[in-house]
């Protein structure tokens, strides 16, 4: 018998899906099932009216051209997302949407693309792409494994904390050793791979938070993460 139903909302899956972002949604859906909950997956695309019933919001990365397509709509729903984030709504923002969840993105030629200010951070376009395997450590989630591929370099403000500290790779930028950002129940990261399959601790944090907000308590099920552990161990031994 189902312990409850969680609504997962994908932000702009048509344009923002470039590095296997579907994997994050699939992992949330399947782990909810393994924990005994049902999942309903819906999409918000440019021009749609923003739904009231989302319990968990997931957004991915896109190409520069894709980010232009969603820009106006994202600005329109920005206040709603800010309000939800401040209220403790769990969200996962990867790569392109991580950048746009910040205050602004300044491109190499000086153009400023406004973000929606869910997260206190800014991103500056770089000439070099930061590409490769990443290992980072987090007090909250342990070791995090993923793959980065971005030219924007992100710098955190005082209103957010880093998700993790990089031990291999670059993470947010080529200067400090921060990777990703945390604010209330928002998890933001440059890492794909996809992020959640090999980092089930983050997936279960998002699930637990969504369930607790909706039902008061979360009753986890038995989930076998042996394969994720093995995949993590192998990923950690690969070249940059």
């Amino acid at each position: 018998m189902s312990k409850g139903t969680i609504s997962i909302l994908q932000l702009y899956p048509r344009e923002m899906n470039i590095y296997g972002d579907w994997g994050n949604v699939l992992v949330l859906k399947q782990r909810l099932a393994w924990h005994g909950y049902d999942a309903v997956i819906s999409e918000h695309n440019a021009g749609d009216s923003f739904p009231d019933d989302a319990d968990l919001i997931v957004g991915g990365g896109g190409q520069d051209s894709g980010q232009l397509v969603i820009q106006q709509d994202l600005q329109a729903i920005g206040p709603r997302l800010r309000g939800l984030a401040e209220d403790g709504q769990p969200m996962l923002a990867i790569c392109g949407l991580y950048q746009l969840f910040g205050r602004f993105f300044r491109t190499v030629d000086g153009t400023v693309i406004p973000g929606i200010g869910v997260l206190d951070l800014e991103t500056h376009g770089g000439k070099e792409r930061l590409i490769g395997n990443v290992v980072a450590t987090s007090g909250e989630f342990g070791e995090i494994h993923g793959y980065e591929n971005h030219s924007g370099q992100t710098f955190l403000g005082a209103g957010v904390t880093p998700l993790a500290t990089v031990t291999k790779g670059e993470g947010n930028n080529a200067r400090d050793n921060h990777e990703g950002a945390r604010h209330h129940n928002v998890v933001a990261s440059y890492l794909h791979g996809s992020l959640l399959p090999k980092n089930p601790a983050i997936a279960d944090f998002l699930i637990r938070t969504a369930v607790e907000r909706k039902y008061g308590t979360f009753e986890p099920g038995e989930v076998d993460d042996t394969l994720a552990d093995l995949a993590r161990r192998h990923a950690g031994s690969r070249p940059r």
Binding site: I18, Y19, W22, G193, A235, R238
Partner: protein, 423 residues
């Protein structure tokens, strides 16, 4: 002419083949010694040079174009090893030129990786270019799909005769305005087949930019039924039976027909073209079939999400033992995200016997999240192949493999069966 660099290059080529080593090293040596070698050798060809590029299908399509043109009596030079970097072309040239650096051929048909094709066309302007598709692949190398599209645009711009474009891929068809000095010819699909070949925007259910599909196409793939197909050529519908496996190869055949017809000008003998097409065998690792223990074993190369999807769609898993081999070496792409853009539902009923390769556990994890049973995991390819063959006696077998995993699998297979040697 520089006979010395040719002789040195040929010597290195012989030496590295004796060692069983890489196919591109002698090309590297001759590039260093004599940077003008390739341009000189290719500039004398009567019908010029054709470059074949795009994300998927380069090797098979190049092989088809070569055999179609040979069937019309042309002597064709090509880079057969799948070493599609500039130095791979130089290495292949070394095997073919005489000691004065002259090539005994009428036309060169060259498969080139998108980035190396740009390097190549800066050295040698092609008369023809055949641009197949742009799909997400090796984003760790190219950054963005749109960046890959710009690379193909440079090939189109450098082409002097005719650019042959895929009408159904909006990124490729959109290159037409960038063609400067050449004509444009299209190949395409009947509208009823379009959903079989999603472009990159459609991979995740988006409708994307609609392709400008009312453009007139020289060759249209009209129907596919198993290995049989109907092609629309010059207003006629022509049925053909192919030895190639997989729907994607059949669309590549339309591309190859359009390219060969273009290169032949008005002189194409369409009946002979179709006779040649029906005789084309799969390129190595691309739906290639060998015999193991009296049973067929198929190798299906999977390099990116669309290729893997089309591979799964083309080959029915029922009754077959399945092995999946995933490596993450440079030539495969280091980022494993692409596995999450493939749906593996079609393997759920039969399950997967074994997964192998450096990223075997990533693959097993991916299958777990699609509820596909994995009966074994062995990261070492030689051990996995042994177990796979021993574990499925009397059963046809199929191996889906990334590029370097395919090379490793073929190496192991050559110890137990006859595998065509490609050099």
């Amino acid at each position: 002419m520089n006979p010395l660099s040719v002789l040195v290059g040929k010597a290195v080529r012989r030496a590295s083949r004796l060692r069983g080593g890489g196919s591109a090293l002698p090309g590297l040596v001759v590039e260093r010694l004599d940077p003008g070698f390739m341009g000189r050798a290719l500039s004398t060809l009567e019908h010029g040079v054709m470059v074949v590029s795009g994300t998927n299908g380069k090797t098979t399509t190049t092989k088809m174009v070569v055999e179609l043109l040979e069937g019309q009596g042309l002597r064709v030079f090509t880079n057969r090893t799948g070493s599609n970097f500039t130095r791979g072309v130089a290495a292949a040239l070394l095997g073919e030129v005489d000691w004065r650096g002259r090539l005994n051929a009428d036309i060169a048909v060259l498969e080139l990786d998108e980035a190396h094709a740009v390097h190549f066309v800066n050295l040698v302007r092609p008369k023809y270019s055949l641009l197949l598709n742009v799909l997400r692949d090796q984003l760790d190398r190219f950054g963005e799909i749109d960046a890959t599209t710009r690379l193909l645009g440079k090939i189109a711009a450098a082409t002097t005769g005719t650019v042959i474009l895929n009408r159904e891929d909006p990124r490729v068809a959109g290159l037409a305005p960038t063609v400067r000095d050449a004509g444009v010819v299209y190949f395409g699909l009947d509208p009823s087949l379009r959903s079989t070949f999603p472009n990159d925007d459609e991979l995740r259910g988006a409708t994307g930019v609609p392709a400008p599909s009312d453009l007139p196409a020289d060759v249209v793939l009209e129907q596919v039924e198993g290995n049989g197909a109907v092609f629309g050529v010059g207003g006629k519908s022509v049925p053909a039976d192919l030895r190639l496996r997989g729907v994607y190869n059949i669309f590549n055949a339309a591309a190859a027909l359009a390219a060969a017809r273009t290169a032949l000008g008005g002189a194409a003998d369409d009946d002979a073209l179709f006779a040649s097409l029906s005789a084309v065998e799969p390129a190595f690792g691309r739906g290639e079939s060998v015999t193991v223990d009296g049973q067929p074993l198929e190798l299906v190369l999977v390099k990116n999400p669309s290729g893997f999807r089309l591979g799964l769609k083309s080959f029915d898993p029922a009754g077959h033992a399945t092995l999946i081999a995933i490596n993450d070496n440079y030539a495969d792409g280091r980022d494993m995200s692409w596995l999450w853009d493939v749906d593996f539902d079609s393997l759920r009923a039969a399950g997967v016997d074994l997964v192998t390769g450096v990223r075997a556990y990533d693959m097993a994890l991916r299958l777990k999240y699609d509820d596909v049973e994995v009966r074994g995991i062995e990261p070492e390819i030689p051990a996995a192949l042994k177990a796979f063959v021993a574990g499925s006696p009397g059963q046809p077998k199929r191996i889906f493999c990334t590029y370097t995993a395919m090379l490793a699998v073929r190496r192991e297979l050559s110890k137990i069966t006859t595998v065509e040697v490609v050099s």
